[in-house]
Structure formats: C-alpha cells, structure tokens
Symmetry: C2
Subunit: 378 residues, 2 copies
C-alpha cells in the first residue's frame, strides 16, 4: 500500500466505504483501484466500465451513497470510530499488511491501537490449566506494556482478554462491532468496550459467518508484533492465525504441552517448526524487545506511508492493447492460483496492463484474488 498518511474528509470516508462494500472488491483490489484511479471517488465512477471490460454482463452492485451514510450513522450511534487505513489512529502494524482492511470500526479506547501489541490465541475448548496460564500470561504481558489482542471466543481468547483487561486489550470480532458472539461473552464485551477496545472489519450489524473467521484472524496477527498459540488442535483457527503471522513477518510463539492432549498438538508442531517456546511472559517480551517499533505518536508522521507512485496518476492502457492482453491473461489462468508476478512474466506483458486486466476480471467476478497476491479463474 502506498498511501499518504492523513485524515479523510467525511466525503472521502463515504467514498472509501462505498468502494470497499462494492461487490467483488476486497482489500487488495481496493488499494489497487486507489492506486490506479488516484481516489475512491474516481474508482467508483469507472468501476462499471472496468467490470464490463472484464466480461461482466449484469451491473456491478455498488452501494448507494445513502447506504454508506447509514453505515457511518450506525457507527456514530454506537459511539464507534470508522478508521481508514491512511489515518493516524489506524493501527500501524495492521496498515503494513498486504490486505489491510481499508476501514475498521473501533469501539472503546482507540489509543490502545497505537501501542505495541501481541496476540494470544487458542482453543475454545481449552483446559482449565490452559485458561489459567493464559490469564496470567496476558496479565504479565499487559504489565510489560504490551496490548493483548484476541478474538473474544470462548476458552483461551476469553482468558486472554480477562487477564489483560486492566492493562490494555483489544478484541477483533468476525462480525459487526456491535454483534456479541458468543452470546455468553456479553459481560466481557461490555468490559472490553469500557476498558479495552473492540475492532471489526464487517459492517455494523453483520452476523458472523464461518467465512468471516479466517479473515478476522489475519487482523488479529496483523495488529500484533507476534502471535502466541496456547492449546490448539491440528487444523484449528489458531494455526491459521499463526500462518498469517508468518506471512505477515510477525513472530510466532507457542506454549508447549503434553503429547497426550490433542489440544497441544498445534503448539508442539509450531515449536518443531521453529516457533519460540513460551513458558512465561518474559519469553515473549524478550523476543519482541528487538522489535522496538515505537508507538506511532512518537514517530515522525508519514514515514510509513510514502507518496503514491507515478502509476497512480497514469492514464489506463490503450483499449486495443487491453483486448489482446485480456485474451492472453485468460488463457494463462486456471482454477489453480498463480502469483500475479508469474503471470506478468508468463504473458510477457507490462505489469500495468496485467494489473489492469486482472482488476477488470476480478470486478467481473471471473477471477479470484488469493493470499500472497495470487489469482485464479473462478
């Protein structure tokens, strides 16, 4: 992402919201459009044409301005801030990931998002010992000045928030910022709102669905310098979070456990793979000590977000050129994801043209964008 760090005007915020809520527009596509078009307003104007060029026949669903205004109002009514990725209060570590959410809703103490954070994640069906350990670890990490990020799920997540409540903790929800899930965590939710912070990428009122959870997990790791995994079965969501952490260049920590407990297989496997073994808060604090990323407030503004590159203001490529390129790109793609860079090399076309064609195909719903800047035919 190459954005100038600055507050958005109300009008721009509406444009950003309409663009990210547009059908077939995910975070990567959002920032690609912003780069290509110079602004969200301009992107909204040319979106229908781009989708048509990509082969779309039915019109693209773009939220009306009134719809976006209702979402802004809903946030305001809850007392939630709607923060854009270029704004100073947006978490710096999160802004650095490839698919940072362009906008997040934040309830509670926004200032916590500026502090160095570490994520604690693990099993919902955690053992009593696992929960006790997590609570103590979270308390000690918070005392060491780290914000504890987790997902407000049952088990480990709940213990993590509870342990760190007085020191500083942030819950990242899979649904809307106002949707309490699981319901039993209503009291915790209220305390998080008062003493910590609650973050959500989905619109206010969104009920969390299965597909939301892995996407939410990338925010948990993305907001953090590292992720600590405590009790997690093979193929669990916590291991997905750990994988995101690796992809995002964050530290991975794991708490060892008995091989006789299936909930310890995840952390033990991570340790085998090189994760830092955690027995106490100091193991985490020490490992993160060299990552002295100061809170944003103490840094010179603008050194993270550079000016937009020249391509952002270039005119789109010539249409006849694009037609040829489109055929070539479509021919090169298959249902198996390939990196866009490989596509560029394979087609022997300019990056600008391939990016434009992929964008159009994506808006048309014919191409899907995958983690690691990969794409495949749908």
């Amino acid at each position: 992402m190459a954005l100038i760090r600055r507050p958005l005007s109300d009008a721009e915020r509406l444009d950003w919201l309409r663009l990210i809520r547009t059908e077939n527009v995910g975070p990567v596509t959002f920032f690609r459009l912003l780069e290509q078009c110079g602004s969200a307003a301009r992107a909204l104007q040319i979106l229908p044409d781009m989708a048509r060029r990509g082969g779309r026949t039915s019109p693209l669903r773009i939220p009306a301005k009134a719809e976006a205004e209702r979402e802004v109002a809903a946030n305001a009514k809850l007392g939630a801030r709607l923060l854009a990725a270029c704004e100073p209060d947006y978490p710096e570590a999160l802004a650095a990931i490839d698919d940072a959410p362009p906008l997040i809703s934040v309830l509670g103490n926004v200032h916590l998002l500026k502090k160095r954070a570490v994520a604690l994640v693990g099993a919902r069906n955690a053992s009593l010992n696992g929960r006790r350990f997590t609570q103590q670890l979270a308390r000690e990490l918070a005392e060491a000045g780290l914000v504890v990020v987790s997902g407000m799920a049952r088990g480990i997540d709940t213990a993590a928030h509870e342990g760190a409540l007085s020191g500083g903790t942030v819950a990242v929800l899979a649904g809307g910022v106002d949707v309490v899930y699981p319901e039993e965590n209503e009291p915790l939710y209220r305390r998080l709102k008062a003493e910590g912070a609650i973050v959500a990428e989905c619109a206010v009122g969104t009920q969390p669905q299965a597909r939301h959870f892995p996407r939410r997990n990338r925010l948990i790791s993305g907001m953090s310098l590292g992720v600590v995994v405590i009790e997690a079965a093979h193929k669990s969501g916590s291991l997905i979070t750990a994988r995101f952490a690796l992809e995002q260049g964050r530290e991975v920590f794991a708490v060892p456990g008995s091989p006789m407990d299936p909930r310890c297989q995840g952390p033990n496997a991570l340790i085998r793979q090189g994760a830092t073994l955690v027995e106490s808060a100091s193991d985490v604090v020490d490992a993160l000590a060299h990552l002295t990323r100061p809170p944003l407030a103490e840094r010179a503004q603008g050194d993270l977000f550079a000016a937009p590159p020249p391509t952002a203001i270039l005119a789109p490529p010539d249409e006849s050129e694009l037609t040829q390129a489109r055929a070539l790109v479509l021919e090169s793609l298959s249902p198996t994801p390939v990196p866009v860079d490989e596509l560029i090399r394979g087609c022997q076309l300019s990056p600008a043209i391939v990016h434009t064609v992929v964008l159009e195909l994506e808006l048309a719903g014919r191409v899907e964008r995958r983690p690691g800047n990969q794409v495949n035919l749908i």
Copy 2:
C-alpha cells in the same frame, strides 16, 4: 580408549578388577595406566611407586587377589557375568565413552547389550499421564527394535521398563547388581532379571549412595544412541543424564509439557536448547534412523578397538626429567579444573611426561580427574 577387542583370561579379569577397585583409580586413570603399562598386572606392580613419586606417604590401598576372587565368585553365585570393556559382549556404545567402566556386572539376557538402545529417563514423582505416556513410548520403541535403557527408579524409569519388558529393556543400577533400590521395585527387578537385563558398575552388594547416581547416569546415556527426557525438574538427575548424552555425542530428546507443571521445565528447557521434541515413538525412531550402528554381532570384530598406540609400550620417562616436570605441573594446577591438553601446552612439556605426572599425582590423591579430561588440585 585403545584396546584390542578380545576376551580376557580369568587371571587378567582378576587383575582388571583389582586395578579398578584400587584407591584413586577411576575409569580414565584405569585406561591411562593400561596404556602406559601395557597390562593391568604390570600396572598393579608399579602403582605403589607411582603414587609415592606423586607425593603419597601412606601406602595405596590395592585390593588383594583374594578380595577380587571373592567379587568374581559373588558375581558367579548370582549368575551375573563380569564383562570387561574390551570383551565382545560389552555394549559397544558404552565402550566408546571416555570413562567407560572397565568392568560391569550383568544379570539376565546379555544379548540385549548388543542391540541398538535408547534411554528413557525422568522424574520419580512423575504424573499419571507422564507414566502412561512413557509406558506407551517404551512399548513402541521396543516394538521398533530398540532396547529401552533406564535406571529402575520410581516414576518414569519404572514405566519405561514396564512398557518395554516384552520387547527388551536394560536397567542400570547405582549400587551392586544384586541391590534392589527402591525396595518396592523388587517384582520389577525379578522380571528384569528374567526378561531383560540388569547392569551395574559397583561391586556386588554395594548399597547405592548419593554420589553413585550421577556416575550411574553416564552409563545410561553411554549405553544408548539417545536419551529421551520425560518430566524432569530443573537440576534433576535426568538433566545430568541429558548433559552426559551431549558430552558423549548422543542424541537428546525431550517430551514437552505444560509450563504450569514444574516437572516439565526440564524437557521444555532442553527443547529450547535444541533437543528433538518427542510426541511419539516415530520421532525417536526417525531421528535415530540415520545412526544405523548395526548390532555388534553383524560387524567385523576389532574395527572399534584399534591396536594400542606406540606409547603404551614405551618405557616411562626419565626420573630427573619427571622431578622437574612434577614441580611445573603442580605450580600450574589449582582447585579450578583445567583441560589436560591445556596443561600440556601451558607447561611446554611432552604429553607423555604430563600424563605420567598427572597419573602419579592422581594416585597420590593430590589431583582429581573431572569430566572432559580436566584435572584440578584437591
């Protein structure tokens, strides 16, 4: 050790026994004397002189021939073999360590000593889960063809032997081969004698004392290709065994556990330091697979034990030379251990002279030999 692999005659066995049971003669000194004098018989002859030259005023206690005969008879009465380090039935891996016991008593199935072995060690106050895990691990390792070595202590050791009884297991005792400790393991001891094997370095009838246990632990690791540590507190005997394993070039394995259980601090610390994390028998079997040291029976005899080096048959250095050297060596030594090699460099004397002087001082009880061929003044 540079020994020709061969069976001892009864007379030689008596000489070996008298020499290793001599005051101030440990295994390293034993083999140094053997090398220097060519035979145990010759060493016994010149020992009093050497000790005197080293500064000893009272006579050195050397067991009488009758005493050694009584020990041989006691072994025979128990049905125990008294195996010398140069003999074909002596465990090959044990013979390879610096301070291999010159003689061991073996009860039970001597053939087990020729098989590839792995040690399982851990806490006496082990958890129920730890014991269950150990028993299963031992069973699976035995099924995979590995002999399971342990120390017949309460807890993990007992579980290890029990799990591997039908497949093959060896207990190494701290006291005499006939002294059951702890007493409650009398039934296990009987089964080990019938189905496994029991090994001891101390004389028949020796009651185990605190100082015997660390020495015994070097045999547990020394007989094995690797050591698996399951539940062990900081500074426990199991960690001493793991340290021996490292010094002996053996693999170290550790079973992870909850940071909330002090019994898991040892294994977790080992994993941090690079020990292989163990969740199942295959973790051990796979790691040892590349160490395909075939059972000795399948190997050409004599390739482990080379012929004695020329120094073994050299005359001892000149006396006036030794007198000067003795003063220099004594001046260079202090209560802080130094490697003998460093001593040789520091004194700028020939290795043969320094070795002789150190040997004499040791026999005189003025110098102590430490692991890693280090010595210090007493």
